[in-house]
Amino acid sequence: MLTIQKNNNMKKIFIPIILFTVLVNSCSKDIVENNLEFPALQPKSTDINAGIWKPILLTGPTEFPVAAPIAVTTPDYIAQINEIKTWQANLTKDEEAIVKYWSAGAVLRWNEILRQLVAKHNLPPYQNPDGTYPVPNANNPLAYPQFPFANPPYASRAYAYVAAAQYDALVAAWHYKKLYNRPAPYVTDVTVNALIPKTDLPSYPSEDATVAGVVGEMMKLLFPGDQDFIQQKVEEHKKARLIAGANVRSDLDAGEALGKAVAQKFVTRARGDRAGTAGGSLTIQSLFEQDCIARGEIPWISQENPKRPGMLMLFGRVKTWLFDSITMVTTIRPPAPPSTSSQKFKDELEEIRHFSTSITPEQRAIAHFWADGISTPTPPGHWNAIAAEDFVKQNFSEVRWARNMALLNMAMMDAAIVCWDAKYVYFNPRPSQMNNTIKTVTGLPNFPSYTSGHSTFSAAAATILGHIIPSNATKYTDMAKEASLSRMYAAIHYRSDCEKGLESGNKVGEYAKARARTDGAE
């Protein structure tokens, strides 16, 4: 009798415990992040002749000379081979993990790291007690507000400089690879294991170290408060290549030195591209405002409390990559938006008021998918992610990855310049300024409405990406349209902002395509 009772009690206890365990298991928490699933890069072509591709800033691939490598028969080279063997003899799990991580590709991984730095720094500074706003200081990057505030224009510039410098550095690296033709360590010594896919591409100078050198250096300019993190990644990357048997130390040293040298040319351009003064001032803002009033239009007003100066009000004057400033003003700048007193304007405002009160769950999901607001890699970062996922499937060589990323990101930075030019030239108010019942499902950007940044970035990106991977062209165009519409769903842009933004973005994308057709890579 006692035993039976015990059994019953045991059941009473065990059934809930079993149920609890089953339910806990159903709430499995394992998350496999997409980027860790990328396979090791196995280019379908080494693009061995990429040394003749047209660089962006370099006068030619030999502008920064790379000395001839020591012979593979020298004691010094053999010592470098032995360094690899020593690593390989005793590999830890962590070391295996970094080899696997970096094997997916240098351009890819550094692009991911850059997106992370942008997201980390994409936070608007908090106001001062007197209601003014502090400005991040590049010379004191760790003091609040930390430098930079990586907002969309800043981010577009960061992605573009990194990508462009990386491309030029790799063109130079490819020139010397072909010239010196030093094989990989696993070729010169068959007892060296290749922990990554083997390639016929000469290993001197190392393309990975070139990327680490050039990108690391550019990042230190753009994210000066994160130098330790960046340097740690540079070291990890080089170590991964050594452990993998892909490069000897002299391959890495030559590549890194080349990358750093090329970076200086881009750093010099960056210091003179007028981005440093793009923040403007309240005096400059009031000039835009007066100009707008003089045209008989209602000017934009910041809806933040306290009122925040418009974001990077002079970014429209930053130096472009793919066309000159005259072309931008005469050929690409969109026409004036509908007058704030016109019926068309009222109709478009009413359309947005409607979205703000009757958004569907699908529309809200689209608005959030493309929001790319604070603490994200921004819309240009989102398009880098889209491109990266698709480039992985294309098995591009590192130099072709870099070339395609450069085209994409120069186009998006130019799109930012074109868009910011229009925003401040027209100084058009946001829907919620014109009708204070309009509420948004994403943060209201603190700059004028016309044109939509998302639309301009996305169309520029879709146009060049559709050229790079023609089979995806329709997909990219559809995505750009959805990104554009998402801003109407979110109730922060009028239809004209989106449509004209797409148009000027497409024009920018065409300039990138024109470059792509003549850079020697096709």
Partner: protein, 312 residues
């Protein structure tokens, strides 16, 4: 006739009501009795903790949450109850442009089992175990805090409770562990303290602690409550950032509850609750109240002699 005493808690950046409408008291429904009723709740906060930094946000003003819910409790036996709660939640910011959100939030289900009950020193000691499960009913988004109506995770909770009553006075202590499922965002990457290239967010588990004491006798309960919610992991909101579902949300609150059975119709009772936040991390400093009306339907045909035996 102590039937049910559900305490909705409107806290944090969302109501988190899913975990909080648990019957967190030491009272059982009798066999075959079903108690059901509507509740209304309101809470608001102007200040919140950004990590450990207390601040206001002029672009949100005061964030208010209204909640309309239905809750019920059925006695399978005197020692085994099943409960449910289903709230409709509506948020609103008094300043700025962010759109308030509203919708049906999470359905919560609990099984409550009085495992042990014994007279000790002129009082009665009860040990109670409560298992709960809650999940979203509508496709609201958690990724729009602080406007979101909930955190979107499925939650499995296990609560152990000790209740001691002597005469008309009682004390109840309970501890709860909540296992939370990942939540899925509408975007495919997000930043916490590093970048994550996935739409899934790992939600840290939660431990909570509740202590309540006061008067409990026929027709009236009046009690003081202390409640602490501790997220076991997660990260702090960075400076001037928006909250994120997997933030480390911690909160300590104190409050007062009452339940009063109508003398003319004891099946009918009213409940009320006020609660305020005394400390927190990555949550709003919310103060709120709620009120409800409950009705007991007895599915047993035979007449009761002592409806109160489950309590004493």
């Amino acid at each position: 006739m102590k039937k049910i005493f559900l305490i909705p808690i409107l806290i944090a950046f969302t109501s988190l009501a899913c975990l909080s409408q648990t019957d967190i008291d030491g009272i059982m429904m009798e066999k075959n009795a079903f108690c059901i009723g509507p509740m209304f709740g309101y809470s608001s906060w102007k200040n919140y903790w950004e990590g450990t930094l207390k601040r206001e946000n002029l672009n949100l003003g005061t964030l208010s949450t209204q909640m309309y819910s239905v809750m019920g409790n059925y006695g399978i036996t005197n020692k085994l109850n099943v409960l449910f709660g289903l709230p409709y939640v509506k948020t609103k910011a008094s300043a700025g442009q962010l759109n308030g959100q509203e919708g049906v939030q999470d359905l919560s289900l609990w099984v409550k089992w009085k495992a042990y009950s014994k007279k000790i020193a002129s009082g009665r000691l009860s040990l109670i175990a409560i298992g709960g499960y809650s999940f979203p009913i509508s496709d609201y988004t958690a990724d729009f805090l602080p406007m979101s109506i909930g955190l979107e995770s499925k939650n499995l909770s296990l609560r152990g409770m000790v209740d001691y009553q002597r005469g008309s006075w009682f004390g109840t202590v309970s501890g709860t562990y909540v296992v939370r499922s990942n939540v899925t965002l509408d975007r495919n990457s997000y930043y916490t303290t590093e970048m994550h290239y996935t739409n899934e967010v790992d939600m840290p588990d939660v431990a909570s602690f509740n202590i309540r004491a006061g008067y409990r006798d026929k027709g009236l309960i009046a009690e003081a409550v202390f409640d602490h919610w501790n997220t076991l992991g997660g990260f702090d909101i960075t400076r001037n950032n928006m909250p994120f579902p997997s933030n480390e949300m911690d909160i300590s609150r104190i409050g007062f509850n009452f339940k009063y059975d109508m003398p003319f119709h004891p099946q009918l009772s009213i409940t009320g609750n006020v609660m305020t936040t005394i400390s927190g991390r990555n949550v709003g400093q919310a103060t709120g109240y709620n009120a409800g009306i409950f009705y007991v339907i007895d599915f047993t045909k035979k007449k009761k002699t002592d409806a109160d035996d489950s309590k004493k």
